[in-house]
Symmetry: C2
Subunit: 265 residues, 2 copies
């Protein structure tokens, strides 16, 4: 099934489609207006450190919902959902190594799993587009370019690691507006963390992202960097806990919440 | 020592004064411009539920800092501080009962204690005053009136309980400005939770607050209610864990952070 035939629909419609296995692609551009979320699933014994890590690093890890241990329904953001089946694709990490990219994690599920849903930049990208700012990777129909930076997040117990950022190039004349628009969305990474020279973040080559796809930076454009919800994946790869499951990059959980609900007043 | 002789000074100056035991009074009006914080100290085994409770109820429980287990220094908000001695007065709850109001908790300290510092309305009251809105209990030199409402917070594990609110009366002509000003301070309770009829919150008599002091509501004035950092005390009284220590109402922890640092953009 093509994403283009699914542009609209309720959150439940999309979750059922992914659950059925008929669509396993990325969710960018799907369900416009609905909040999409990053997923991190881990054992309860790791949940405190991870929750505190999120609290200390709200820009890369803005929490939308944390489930009770063993509960696979996102009761707040998507009543009736099943987090084991309702994303198009997952990533399974054992001791920090990516070992599988299944489309269903029912076989991995354990009774003490806690699921974290974190805000995703798709929400603020819609707001950028409404403000007439081109979002390059959407134009190019690619995944957003993501980079592991030289900035360390604030650690929490065993959880520590570098800040991961996403990058969107734009004309200098749009930068102020981009800061203003995204500042109003704290729950989805908020304002940029850096504007301009990638080397400041330790990024040597914009054409070689650590995750996602490279995009063209046109002459005269400035790269603008936002904290990225893939930061927990970098943490997991460094901390190497026995088992952690996340969404596959770009393959998000579609909630029932509306982007407008996340506006900061 | 009189509070009036201490109007200004660094956070460390005030913490040292309280540590010395020479001042044990409330901190309202002290250290203008510096962020003051609510304190909740509990055993590590309760910390996950309490952290999640705060995450789910950010208006009454806006987290400024969570210490590592056993660490009594607030490294982020007040480097060099000692949370066992640096508040003018504490409250000790055993199984939900208030059993002591010491000015030093060194004798109670345990190696697995985790300390939570939560935002306090003193920060937004300064902003209200700067916006030329009278804050009645400050005018009257009383503690703010606080009420236990009929609204339940979102539960987290064993942590659950009612929302506690603080109340400030004002003329209707000031209400819009009060909403605007406090909306900009998410880290200190943010916008009001209710404006007008106290019965909507289950408050039968404004002249009988559950905590703090009553204040006059003048003819034509409207009561405006904000989520209150004493909510965790109501939770503790209901959940009855073996040992929890908090600040005494109005006797806050003075940090090194500036009110302006908490402005939401």
């Amino acid at each position: 099934m093509k994403a283009s035939s699914l542009a609209s629909g309720s959150g439940a419609t999309f979750r059922e489609l992914f659950r059925s296995g008929k669509y396993v692609g990325p969710t960018a551009g799907l369900a416009p207006g609905l909040v999409q979320a990053n997923l991190v699933v881990l054992h309860k014994e790791l949940a405190y450190d991870f929750l505190l890590f999120c609290q200390r690093n709200p820009k890369p890890c803005p929490i939308l919902e944390v489930t009770a241990a063993g509960c696979y329904e996102a009761k707040e953001t998507a009543p009736g959902s099943d987090l084991r089946t309702d994303l198009p694709k997952y990533r399974v990490f054992r001791y920090g190594e990516l070992v599988a990219e299944p489309t269903d994690i029912s076989g991995y599920w354990q009774d003490d799993f806690v699921s974290f849903l974190l805000g995703c930049s798709f929400t603020f990208e819609a707001a950028l587009q409404e403000a007439d700012i081109e979002v390059r990777h959407i134009t190019l129909q690619r995944n957003v370019p993501m980079y592991i930076t030289n900035r360390q997040c604030k650690g929490a117990g065993i959880m520590q690691g570098p800040l991961v950022v996403s990058m969107r190039p734009m004309l200098p004349s749009n930068v102020v507006k981009a800061v203003q628009v995204t500042s109003r969305y704290h729950a989805v990474h908020g304002a940029p963390v850096h504007i301009g020279d990638p080397l400041t973040l330790g990024i040597a080559d914009l054409s070689k992202p650590d995750m996602g796809d490279a995009v063209d930076v046109l002459p005269g454009e400035v790269p603008v960097f936002w904290a990225c919800g893939c930061t927990p994946q970098a943490v997991v790869m460094g901390v190497k806990p026995p088992l952690v499951i996340t969404h596959a990059p770009g393959h998000m959980f579609i909630t029932d919440w509306h982007d407008r609900d996340l506006l900061t007043y």
